[in-house]
Amino acid sequence: MTQNKSTAGISIKNLGLSFGTTEVLKGVNLEIEPGEFFSFLGPSGSGKSTLLRAISGFGPDPTGSIKIGGEEVTGLPAWQRNVGMVFQSYALWPHMTIRKNVAFGLEERKVSSTEIDGRVDDALDLVGLKHLADRTPGQLSGGQQQRIALARTIVVEPRVLLLDEPLSNLDANLRVQMRRDILALQRELGLTTIFVTHDQEEANTISDRMAVLDKGIIQQIGTPVELYDQPQNRFVASFLGTANIIEGSITEGHFVAEKDFKIPVKTDLTGNIYLVIRPQSVTISETEVTENNRSYSLKGNIEYSEFLGETVRYSVLSNGHSILADESHLRGNKIVANGQDVWVEIEKDQILLLDR
């Protein structure tokens, strides 16, 4: 298959959508570049699937604008939008062979049958399943069905590719392999792709950029690293990875929280804020540590520990706050016992302060 010449960018402006009287999407603004691998990430009920479906033309009519390749598509029925959609359940038609399934879109576009055969073969080759062309979906495994669903969509050379949680029905090992394959395919075709998932690891590993959604509102857009390192609100901070979040306020150059928790900080923010520090930036030590250039130290006490294989996660109670600290685990390392008094070191330049 040739590089996709006609891949398009997506521009969403001020999109809102309601089911009856319930508002499910609010004020969505989004620009996706042509050829970008873009993810929608969020918990269930966040509206990510709804947004995807709105782009493909399913569900209630939204307010606002959706442009694909500069063309306004709100108001167009799904079959006129030329977007490729892969469904969570793959939706292969059980009464047709694989070949017929994949050929479907081409037949609808009145492509000549010789050309259809060629293109179907190419698509099946691309996903490595040409030898299954004459089987029926019921005879294929989940992973194989997924790839056929992909093949069926890309064979019609859509402008954009939309994937609605395509990996959630596969088991763990297969998921990892599949997401790499999907990424490879996308790179080869250069097709603008939106990938919906609730799994951070998936989103992190394959997205160029992603949007985090919660309760129908886009929380933040950026690259995986940007979102992780510079979350702009509490939700994003706590959703991506694990974070220690302490509520407090700025008073006289210090971050002050209840129970005498006090750290000097340098910031322009005032009033109520969150202090965010990731567990991997917190170290514990059984011997006393004092403040230095790199980190602040606090005294605390081990509440419990969780052995996670690669790390041991400690929960330390310090000044009335439970702080999580991750220590890398190597063979032979001892786990600090519960109740042990320890010193907690917090890396200064890893502290993030967010407006509350």
Partner: protein, 572 residues
């Protein structure tokens, strides 16, 4: 304390169920397998020499009357399926494609026809739709033409279609509702819509459900004796079998030949339905469900939809209406409505037809009881024990579906004429108990399926918990399993009862005196005399009330049982 489940044939832990299984098997063999086998044997036997021959079948196909009957039965069944589909299709379309306010009406439409057996309304339909019936009189007067609704075979087709279309409607609706929505959406996103989408995706996916419903309708119309008999259409297979046996005699081979043909066709239709669903059971390969996308109707569409639905409702209710008019009417002759109205017919029914009613309640009650007892026993044996060959019991009981009532009747006459009932000087074939048995055998498949469904709602772990606390099998069954199945069993009982109460095909073959006759036969007899139309119709209304009550009660019981069982955790 636990006894190891031994695999010995008559091991103690197995003895109860084993003995039960054998008893049931004997019952089914004696009252189902043997009579049907007898019918087959006679059909293939030379009447004078007794040797095996195909000459009876040759004679059958050489006689133009029988060829005609064969073709007519086939024709009537096929066209009935077509007409029933035409009625069901728009209704299924409205409910599955749109948010249609009239869905409740359509659901009612799905039940109303089934509460009145077609033969009951057949005569009344003549008065409404006959060539000089109400509708045609009005048409002729105002528009100058008539429509031959009830001429010859048309009458049978018309009555059967409006009675049986619910089977297609229900199956088709269920099939459409089972379609995973993403099936349709993926096609839409690939550029398909409208008719093309329907033809390539929706239609093939709903086909199995449709075929299942259509083959049920085909076989029920093919086998039905009552309707053609009451419409005086005799050149069809089932009435011919009845006429040959009743007027020419039990020894006439033609009646048996026809019986064999009826059974073969029944089996064929069942096989087609089986094939359609097997391997193409698309419900299991589709993960979602959710049915097709529904949209709202525009006002013009709403108007058309309601018009169609109400029109169909009127047609479907017409037998009930006509029957009601006939039961209250004095004289109804060459006029749109009866001349005047009276309660006389009901008075006569209640005074002189007490026997019919009493017999019906007795027969149907006994038959339904037999059905649920045997049904529960078979359900338990097949699904909860490991007795060898238990599946055969299931198949044997289900095979009753392939035996038309008229064939069962003929088989009984032939098999049991030699036996005398103990203590009485009557051949078993003439004793009223045989009618009860025939009704029970015919309804057993449905009752058994209800019992099986009820049993499957009871998780095995509930039984295991009882046994781990020290209760023996018998006690467990009595105290745990059966009480939890009660809803389903009762529903099965009521359904069996309601349908047995109005069965005619086997009854008419086996009734030997009016004192032993149930309501269905009573209606038939009344309709044979000029002055009997009114009381016959009144009796028909009574029968409808019994069935309607039965259906309603059954549905309520199922609902309540479902509510109760919804509390129990994992359903296996």
């Amino acid at each position: 304390m636990t006894v190891k489940a031994s695999s010995g044939f008559l091991s103690r832990s197995n003895f109860g169920p084993k003995a039960l299984a054998i008893l049931i098997a004997l019952f089914l063999i004696m009252f189902l397998a043997v009579p049907v086998a007898k019918v087959f044997i006679v059909a293939f036997q030379d009447p004078s020499t007794g040797s095996f021959t195909l000459i009876n079948f040759v004679d059958f196909f050489k006689t133009s009357l029988f060829r005609e009957s064969f073709w007519n039965s086939f024709y009537v069944s096929s066209v009935s399926v077509v007409v029933a589909s035409i009625i069901a299709l728009p209704l299924a379309y409205f409910t599955s494609r749109f948010n249609f306010g009239g869905t409740v009406i359509i659901q009612t439409l799905g039940i109303v026809p089934l509460i009145m057996p077609p033969f009951v309304g057949a005569v009344a339909m003549q008065l409404l739709f006959g060539s000089n019936g109400s509708v045609n009189l009005l048409l002729d007067e105002h528009l100058g033409f008539t429509i031959p609704f009830m001429e010859g075979l048309n009458g049978v087709i018309f009555v059967q279609s409006i009675h049986y279309f619910p089977f297609i409607l229900i199956n088709l609706s269920a099939a459409l509702a089972n379609i995973d929505r993403s099936m349709e959406e993926s096609a839409l996103s690939l550029g398909s819509n409208g008719m093309r989408l329907f033809r390539r995706i929706v239609f093939p996916l709903s086909m199995p459900g449709y075929v299942a419903g259509a083959s049920i309708v085909f076989i029920k119309v093919f086998d039905d004796l009552g309707t053609p008999l009451l419409l005086n259409v005799n050149n069809m297979l089932a009435p011919q079998a009845y006429l040959r046996i009743s007027s020419v005699g039990i020894s006439d081979p033609m009646g048996y030949v026809i019986s064999v043909i009826l059974v073969i066709f029944s089996l064929f239709a069942m096989w087609v339905a089986f094939l359609a669903l097997r391997g193409k059971d698309y419900a299991t390969t589709q993960k979602g469900g959710g049915g097709l996308m529904k949209r709202d109707m525009k006002p013009a569409e709403k108007f058309i939809a309601y018009a169609i639905v109400l029109f169909i409702l009127a047609v479907v209710l017409s037998p009930h209406l006509a029957l009601g008019l006939l039961s209250f009417g004095t004289i109804w002759s060459y006029s749109v409505l009866p001349d005047a109205y009276t309660l006389e017919h009901y008075a006569e029914v209640f005074s002189s037809a007490g026997d019919f009613i009493k017999n019906t309640l007795l027969y149907a009650g006994m038959a339904a009881t037999i059905d649920v007892v045997i049904g529960t026993a078979i359900a338990y044996i097949v699904w909860r024990t490991k007795i060898k060959g238990r599946k055969i019991l299931d198949y044997l009981a289900m095979s009753a579906l392939a035996v038309p009532g008229v064939v069962l009747g003929i088989g009984y006459l032939r098999t049991f004429y030699q036996f005398d009932v103990p203590f009485k000087d009557i051949p078993l074939a003439n004793y009223w108990l045989i009618i009860v048995i025939a009704l029970a055998i015919r309804r057993l498949p449905y009752a058994m399926r209800a019992c099986v469904a009820a049993l499957q709602q009871v998780s095995v772990s509930l039984e295991e918990a009882s046994e781990s606390l020290g209760a023996r099998k018998m006690t467990t069954v009595k105290r745990i399993v059966i009480p939890l199945m009660t809803g389903g069993i009762l529903a099965g009982f009521v359904t069996s009862f309601a349908t047995a109460a109005v069965e005619l095909s086997a009854t008419i073959m086996l009734v030997s005196s009016e004192a032993d006759a149930p309501i269905a036969y009573g209606i038939y007899v009344f309709m044979q005399s000029a002055a009997g139309r009114g009381p016959g119709a009144a009796l028909g209304i009574l029968a409808v009330v019994i069935v309607a009550l039965g259906t309603y009660v059954s549905n309520r019981i199922i609902q309540k049982a479902n509510q109760k069982n919804a509390m129990s955790p994992d359903q296996h």
